[in-house]
Symmetry: C2
C-alpha cells in the first residue's frame, strides 16, 4: 500500500465533494493499492494541518455546519496557509481548487508554480493558470519530474483532455468542436422546450443555481472560449491566447429563431471550434444551427460534448459530463488515479 | 531516445497497415522519444528476422506484390517462426494480430501466453484469447511485470477499453451498452435508407467487403456478444463466458418493421447491454428499437458507439471508431504509446 499525502487548496463545494469522495471511495482506493492521506486543507483565511492525516469523518461533520476552517477544533488555524505546505515540504500532491481568475490566474498561479518548483505534483480544477500559462507550467513540471493534471478544467466529468490525449494517442488531431458550457446549453434547451425568451430562461437557470448572478462569462461565450483554448493549446500543441478566438454568445437569440429551426428539425447550440482552414488555424465560439446528423445534436440541457477529428483514428465524439460538485471532484480524483497508474500526462508534445 | 524492439505476429491487412503506420508516424514517435524497430514479422508459414530492424521501405514495397514473406529477399525464411522470438528473447513487445478463433483462442493463445511468460509485453487485436482467458493472462502479465494491451479487441479505433478504464477511473461502472459491430449496423442503415430486404442489404455489404462470405458471427450477434463480454469482464471485474449472454441477431428484421419504426422517428439497432437488474448482472445482445433521445441513436452505418453509466462521473457516451485496417492498426499503436507513456493497464481490479 502506497501512502499518498495530499493538500487541498480551496475548500468550497468542489473541495468538500472531493473530501467526501475520498471517504466514500476508500475500498476503490485500497484496490488501487493507495492510501490517500489529506494532511492539509487550506481555505482563503487559514486551514488545517495534520501530518498523519485529517480524520475524514470529523472534518466532513464539521463542514456541514461551519464555513470557517480556522475554527476546526482539532487543529484549525489562521497560520496554516499555503506557504506552510512549501515550508514543511511533506506532500506528494496538491489539489488546487481556488476560484478561477482569467486575467491574472491568481491565487492558483502562485500555488501551482510554487508547488511544481518544489517537486510537488499538481491536480487542478482552476482554468485560470492553465489558460494563461500551460506551456510554462508544463515545462516546469517536466523539469521537476512531476505531473500536472488538468482534466477538470475543460468540462469537469467529460473526459475531454483524456479523449484527445490518451484515446487518440498516436494520431494527430485535425479539429476540435465542442459544446463545453452547461449553463448556455441549459438556457437554449429551456427556450426550445418552453418557448420562453432568453431573459426568462436565464432567470430560471439562475433560480436553479445553474447560472451565476452575473452570467456574463457563460452567456457571452468566454467560458466556452477558455475551455476551447486549453484543449487547443494542449491537444494541438499551440500557444494561442483568448485574443486568437472570435467569440460571441447566446444573448441575442430569439424564440422565433429557435422555433423556425425546430420546424426544420434543427437546433441552436453554442459551439466552440478549432479547425484548419487553408493552412490557418481558426478558432471561434458562436451559436450554430445544427442538423440531427451532427454528432453534438443530442447534447441537451446541462450535458456537454466534444468531437475530435483525427488522421488515423477517425472521428471521436464524447458525450456526457454530469455537472456539479461531485462530478467535478470525481474528475480530479480521476487524474489522481491515472497519475498513480503511471500515466505521463506531459509526454504529449515537447 | 528509447529503442523498442517489436515482433509482428500475423501479417494480414492489419499487420501491413501497422507497418505502414510506423513508417508514416516516425516524426510522431521521435517526439514521443521512442525509436521502434520491427525485428520480426511472422506469418503462418514463416517470417523475417533482422536484429537491427527490418527496413520499412523495403518490406512495404515487397508486400505490395508478394504475399509470401519467406520469399523476402533480405532474410525471409520458413525457419523464422514464433518460437524463434522466444528462443532469441530479444523483443520488448509482440503485436499479436493472428485471426480470431473463439473456441480455442489459437494460435493467439499460445503466442500471448508464451510471450508473457517470457516477460514480453503484448498488444493484441485478437479477440479469441482475451475472450477465453483474460483473467489468467492478466494475472500472468502482472506476475511478469509486463503489460497486456487489448484496446483493439473491442471496437478497434473506438476507445471502449480506455473509455471505461481511464476516462472513468475512480468511478464504478454501473452499466455498459453498445453498438459494437459495424457490419450489422451497416446492414440496418442500408435497409433503412433504401427500403431493401435483409438479404439484399447483406449482399451489398458482402460486395463492399464489409460483411464476410460467411456472415454468421456478425449477423447472429456473436461478434457483439464477444466484445460485450470482454468489456464486462475487464471493466466490471467479472468472469463471465459467452454462455452467460442471451444473444440474438438481425436476420429476422423486415423492411416493414424498419419502415414503421422510422415513421415514429425510431431506429432498430443491434445493442449489447450489461446491467444490474435487482442485484443480478444481466447481459444480452438483441435488436432494439430506440428513440432519437437515446445517445446511440445517431450511430449509423459502420460507426460504433458505447455508453457507460457510472456512480460518480455520470454517463459517458463514446461514438466513432472508423472501420478498416488502418484504424485497427492505429488502435494497436495507441496501446503501444500509452504503455510507453507509463500507463499500467493491469492496475484496474485485482
Amino acid at each position: 500500500m502506497k501512502i499518498i499525502k495530499i493538500a487541498l487548496i480551496g475548500y468550497g463545494s468542489v473541495g468538500k465533494a472531493f473530501l467526501q469522495l475520498l471517504y466514500d471511495k476508500q475500498n476503490y482506493l485500497i484496490n488501487e493499492e493507495i492510501n490517500i492521506k489529506v494532511i492539509y486543507i487550506i481555505a482563503s483565511n487559514g486551514g488545517i494541518y495534520n501530518a498523519s492525516g485529517i480524520d475524514y469523518k470529523k472534518i466532513i461533520k464539521f463542514s456541514k455546519n461551519n464555513t470557517d476552517l480556522t475554527k476546526y477544533p482539532y487543529g484549525g488555524s489562521v497560520k496554516i496557509n499555503f506557504n506552510k505546505i512549501i515550508e514543511n515540504n511533506d506532500v506528494d500532491i496538491i489539489v488546487e481548487m481556488t476560484p478561477t481568475n482569467k486575467d491574472t490566474g491568481e491565487p492558483g498561479m502562485m500555488h501551482i508554480t510554487k508547488a511544481l518548483k518544489n517537486g510537488i505534483n499538481v491536480i487542478t480544477s482552476n482554468k485560470g493558470p492553465i489558460l494563461l500559462a500551460y506551456r510554462r507550467l508544463k515545462k516546469l513540471a517536466k523539469e521537476k519530474n512531476v505531473q500536472l493534471g488538468v482534466g477538470c478544467t475543460t468540462g469537469g466529468a467529460l473526459p475531454t483532455i483524456n479523449g484527445g490525449m490518451i484515446d487518440l494517442a498516436g494520431s494527430s488531431i485535425l479539429s476540435i468542436e465542442g459544446i463545453l458550457n452547461g449553463t448556455t446549453n441549459f438556457i437554449l434547451k429551456e427556450m426550445e422546450d418552453n418557448q420562453v425568451t432568453y431573459a426568462e430562461a436565464l432567470k430560471k437557470a439562475q433560480k436553479l443555481n445553474i447560472a451565476e448572478t452575473n452570467p456574463t462569462l457563460d452567456v457571452d461565450g468566454w467560458d466556452t472560449a477558455s475551455k476551447l483554448l486549453i484543449l487547443t493549446n494542449i491537444l494541438m500543441n499551440q500557444d494561442k491566447t483568448l485574443n486568437d478566438i472570435i467569440v460571441s454568445g447566446i444573448t441575442e437569440i430569439t424564440p422565433k429563431q429557435i422555433k423556425e429551426a425546430r420546424l426544420k428539425g434543427e437546433k441552436y447550440k453554442l459551439i466552440g471550434k478549432t479547425e484548419n482552414i487553408n493552412g490557418k488555424l481558426c478558432m471561434n465560439v458562436k451559436l450554430q444551427k445544427i442538423k440531427s446528423t451532427h454528432p453534438l445534436y443530442y447534447v441537451d440541457g446541462r450535458n456537454k460534448g466534444v468531437r475530435y477529428t483525427s488522421d488515423t483514428l477517425g472521428d471521436l465524439t464524447i458525450l456526457g459530463g454530469a455537472s456539479g460538485a461531485i462530478p467535478a471532484a470525481a474528475s480530479l480524483l480521476r487524474d489522481l488515479i491515472n497519475i498513480n497508474r503511471g500515466y505521463d500526462f506531459l509526454r504529449w508534445y515537447k
